[in-house]
């Protein structure tokens, strides 16, 4: 029975559990074994036993920054080493209520700052397709675990692309819902106006299933709304009458192999009855600069609480300044320190208008570009990432090159709109992701379109050994 589960989606396993052919406890135990055998450094913590109440669905891998009561939750950072929260994130509690148990905590770029999972305080994660390459980030552990079959499904967070880009690099499905669809309460914060929780799964149906349980208005998160009408499982097999606007295909950094797979996908869309047209997002090129001012600015405040006073390791010789400086210097990695400095600078007196103020205006422009596009088309599509998975160490010395990994993914969080990445093919043996974005709260339509396209693509995903 056991390795049979490896080939099943969560929806398929759920059917078996419901039919009594499989118990949730057996499923938990199987996946626990798989997770414990992970060799990619995708996990920072794995459940050490099957819970007494194993729920009703297969267990889930949860990105480290989701607070789970009593379980190490460190956001991939040494500054929270050993921290076990006294409470559980609402999104995880929603899953628990739906009968899903926590399988393990996955590795990530520290405080969600990164695009390769090389910024983790606990070592990088390897891409299961090629272990000399990165899985993407910041939800690298979650993506790698799903791709490698060491988790049946996973949740991650997406601020500038941190679900979609690793999904693309690992050949799995990843979705960032509309800002406010899922509660942020209990998600260790990076950038408050951008962070969203979302699914990383084997297929689009599993993503829909997961999102349907995650979403909801939470009284503990004043920015949450849920998805009006909830989320239904997709069933579409055709794309008749739907209009797809493609952008960014002439960016210089776009790898030819990636472009080729995306073009092939566009042809499939037309075969399925959809219309494809070129669109322009004139301000999309300012997405990275705007994002890399706004996100660090918010992060500089969100990370100010890590000072060793109330939780986490405490360093320093007793003087207050020494306590702050040593705790934070020793606890935070280089990229985190870099972004805190950028963010502090951008907010400082005399510079606020020039940087943060201006970036927020650019953000509005980008949102307007997308809104204008949605007057003409139903979906905005593009490659998810300009490249396939790059090698470990390739971009670590060049932060700007690393930042450009997010080129296609940052406009959506800036505009607060949802987007999904589905694997659409291989280039040089490595997965290519196709991104579909829609207006706010259009998750159902995005999932339907993705479902139809996925079926047509027929991506054979799991590079399991």
């Amino acid at each position: 029975m056991s390795d049979e589960l490896l080939g099943l989606t969560v929806a398929q396993q759920a059917t078996r559990i419901e039919a009594g052919e499989l118990s949730a406890a057996e499923a938990f135990d199987y996946w626990r074994g798989r997770a414990a055998g992970d060799e990619l450094n995708a996990y920072l913590w794995v459940a050490d036993e099957v819970p007494d109440d194993a729920g009703r669905l297969p267990p889930i891998a949860v990105k480290d920054l989701f607070c789970v009561r009593g379980v190490p939750s460190m956001a991939g950072s040494r500054i929270l080493e050993g921290y076990r929260p006294p409470y559980t994130a609402t999104s995880v509690r929603n899953l628990e209520d739906a009968g899903v148990r926590v399988l393990g905590k996955t590795n990530q770029d520290e405080f969600a700052m990164g695009s390769s999972n090389e910024n983790s305080g606990f070592g990088p994660v390897e891409n299961p397709w090629d272990r000399t390459r990165v899985p993407g980030g910041s939800s690298g552990g979650s993506a790698a675990a799903v791709a490698a079959g060491t988790a049946p499904w996973a949740i991650g967070t997406d601020t500038g692309g941190s679900i979609r880009q690793p999904a693309s690099l690992c050949g799995v499905v990843g979705m960032k819902p509309t800002y406010g669809a899922v509660s942020r309460y209990g998600m260790i914060a990076f950038a408050s106006s951008l962070d969203q929780c979302g699914p990383l799964t084997r297929d689009v149906t599993d993503a829909a299933l997961l999102l349907s349980h995650l979403q909801g208005r939470d009284p503990c998160d004043s920015t949450s709304l849920g998805i009006p009408g909830g989320v239904e499982l997709p069933s579409a097999e055709r794309l008749d009458g739907l209009r797809f606007g493609v952008w960014g295909m002439d960016e210089p950094g776009l790898e030819p192999g990636v472009a080729q797979q995306v073009d092939a996908t566009l042809a499939r869309i037309e075969e399925l009855g959809g219309g494809v047209e070129q669109i322009e997002l004139p301000n999309a090129k300012y997405g990275i600069p705007a994002y890399y001012v706004i996100a660090p600015a918010e992060a500089s405040a969100n990370l100010a609480r890590y000072d060793g006073v109330r939780y986490g390791p405490r360093k320093g010789d007793g003087d207050l300044t020494a306590l702050y400086e040593q705790t934070r210097h020793d606890g935070f990695g280089e990229e985190v320190r870099r972004r805190i400095m950028i963010g502090t600078y951008a907010l400082s007196s005399g510079y606020y208008e020039a940087y943060y103020g201006t970036a927020q205006k650019v953000r509005t422009r980008i949102a307007e570009d997308l809104a204008a596009a949605f007057e003409r088309v139903d979906f905005v599509v593009s490659p998810t990432s300009a490249t396939v998975a790059f090698r470990l160490g390739e971009r670590t010395q060049d932060p700007l090159a690393m930042y450009l990994s997010d080129y296609y993914t940052v406009p959506m969080p800036l505009a607060g709109i949802p987007a999904i990445s589905i694997p659409c093919g291989l280039s040089e043996g490595l997965p290519v992701g196709f991104q579909i974005a829609g207006p706010a709260f259009s998750e159902a339509r995005i999932l339907d379109a993705a479902h139809a396209l996925e079926k047509s693509i027929g991506f054979e995903g799991v590079p399991v050994t």
Binding site: L65, F66, C67, S73, A75, L80, Y83, P85, P86, Y87, A89, R184, Y185, G186, M187, I188, A189, S192, S193, P219, C220, D221, S222, T223, A297, E298, S300, A301, L303, A304, R305, Y306, D307, V309, R310, Y311, L320, Y324, T344, L347, S348, S349, Y352, Y356
Partner: protein, 480 residues
């Protein structure tokens, strides 16, 4: 060209007040408020700034803040937002305070003669306790933090620099305190920290309009100390200017025991708070329903009540003020006036502010056994000379303790006014018993009458009216 020493300087003072609201729970989480409880027992992950937590705005705090803004006739912003005020200190768990910056809840109000610049909402910091000789940070070996207070809702009220003397500032502070107490939004207890007053003080040549450099006096524990502290600061600034120097912008602490002013922070150390809009909270956009609810919750405020009592009931200003500022006394008084059918208003007011206030201290008269109607009746009896003032005081004591009807008490204790015939006989006897006193009076030492009056009062057990007794004695002596 006038020499600096020869100029007269006028003080220019504004105040910044922080008020802790008496809501059920903290500003952004569900913890109950507390004072003096065991440390770190009224806390939760949110007010401790644990990773992943988020604030949620307290609706009752917004309601109270709206009431305050309306009490000051402010313009209420149709949309105000929260900002993060960023700095590092152990009493600030998130490393930022959620406050309001350039879009505050309300602006442009007035209380008495003082313009209110703005009213905004924010959360209180936790409490730092320094273990050392003085309890202050200098010389302390360790410091510990109690987060019970952290997150308590605060309203910050900033005035324009309209005050012109330390006394005015203290009086304004008292009016503000009485007003907020009447609104029921805060305990406004300066010793407990539910009311904190800072003063911004500067001086300028009398008659000029530009503002001088201001110094900030932080957090004095009483209005008396506020007045003294401001006076000391004005003196300090005057000495600097008269010596030809410049006043520096700084923050000072006034020690009321020593009268010393110590610098806490100078301008160079002033923080850049890197304010930006709080992304975790939506704007505060009061609805019609919220505004209506706040408006309807406004009681008659002290200033207006004092005016009305002075005007309509013709009470002296000081009496009116006292009854207005201590609204429980005022409420009791007005019930008594109503029971008295509006008779003897002056006398009733005097009994309230003298005899009753002296007996109950700060307590609420409604908490005693005395009924407003009983007081009204007692006063009427005194005015009708049915009972002497001193006997009435005894009756009052009984009524406060046991309640009841003054007529019954008077009868039960035999405190009825001494009848003329009975009194004349007692007066005769007292005159006869005190021939020396009579001699002295006749020879011009009129104070000696006191001994005879005293004898009469003792014999009548205070049921006679002292003034009348004295008159009778004078007549008898003069006549005889």
């Amino acid at each position: 060209m006038t020499e600096p020493e020869a100029r007269v300087y006028e003080p220019v003072i504004g105040v910044e007040i922080h008020v802790q609201l008496r809501t059920q729970t903290k500003m952004f989480c569900g913890c109950a408020l507390s004072f003096g409880e065991e440390p770190n027992t009224y806390v939760c992950p949110i007010c401790l700034g644990h990773p992943g937590t988020l604030p949620v705005t307290n609706a009752e705090a917004v309601h109270f803040a709206l009431m305050i803004a309306m009490a000051f006739d402010c313009d209420i912003a149709p949309r105000s937002i929260f900002h993060r005020k960023n700095y590092f200190y152990p009493d600030l768990p998130k490393g930022y305070q959620i406050s309001q910056y350039d879009l505050p809840l309300a602006r442009n109000g007035r209380l008495g003669d003082v313009r209110i610049h703005r009213v905004h909402m924010e959360e209180d910091a936790a409490k730092l306790i320094h273990a050392g000789r003085s309890g202050r940070i200098h010389g302390a070996e360790t410091s510990v933090v109690d987060f019970n207070r952290g997150g308590t809702p605060l309203v910050e009220i900033v005035t324009e620099p309209d005050l012109r003397s330390p006394h005015e500032a203290a009086e304004f502070g008292r009016l503000l305190q009485a007003t907020l107490r009447r609104l029921g939004v805060s305990d406004v207890n300066m010793e407990e920290g539910s009311l904190r007053v800072d003063a911004n003080v500067s001086i300028r040549p009398a008659g000029t309009a530009t503002l001088g450099t201001k110094a900030e006096l932080k957090n004095m524990n009483s209005f008396r100390f506020l007045e003294r502290g401001i006076a000391a600061e004005i003196g300090r600034q005057e000495r600097i200017v008269h010596a030809g120097g410049q006043v520096e912008q700084e923050t000072l602490h006034y020690d009321p025991q020593t009268g010393n002013l110590t610098s806490l922070r100078s301008k160079e150390e002033a923080h850049d708070y890197r304010y930006f809009p709080e992304p975790d909270l939506p704007p505060v956009a009061p609805t019609e329903a919220m505004l209506k609810r706040a408006r309807e919750a406004l009681p008659e405020l002290p200033a207006a009540r004092a005016d009305r009592l002075e005007r309509d009931l013709e009470l002296p200003a000081e009496t009116a003020r006292l009854l207005a500022f201590r609204f429980e006394l005022g409420d009791f008084f007005e019930s008594a006036v109503e029971a008295a059918g509006n008779g003897h208003v002056r006398a009733l007011a005097n009994w309230m502010t003298n005899e009753l206030a002296a007996r109950i201290g700060d307590a609420d008269p409604a908490g005693t056994s005395l009924e407003p109607s009983a007081l009204a009746q007692l006063v009427a009896m005194v005015e009708a000379k049915q009972v002497s003032a001193s006997a009435a005081k005894e009756v009052l004591d009984v009524l406060l303790e046991e309640g009841g009807d003054p007529v019954a008490v008077v009868e039960a204790k035999g405190l009825g006014r001494a009848e003329s015939g009975e009194l004349e006989a007692i007066v005769e006897r007292a005159i006869a018993d005190n021939p020396d006193a009579v001699e002295k009076i006749r020879s011009g030492k009129t104070q000696a009458i006191g001994a005879i009056v005293g004898a009469v009062m003792r014999e009548t057990k205070g049921r006679a009216d002292g003034g009348e007794v004295q008159r009778m004695i004078s007549e008898r002596i003069g006549a005889g």
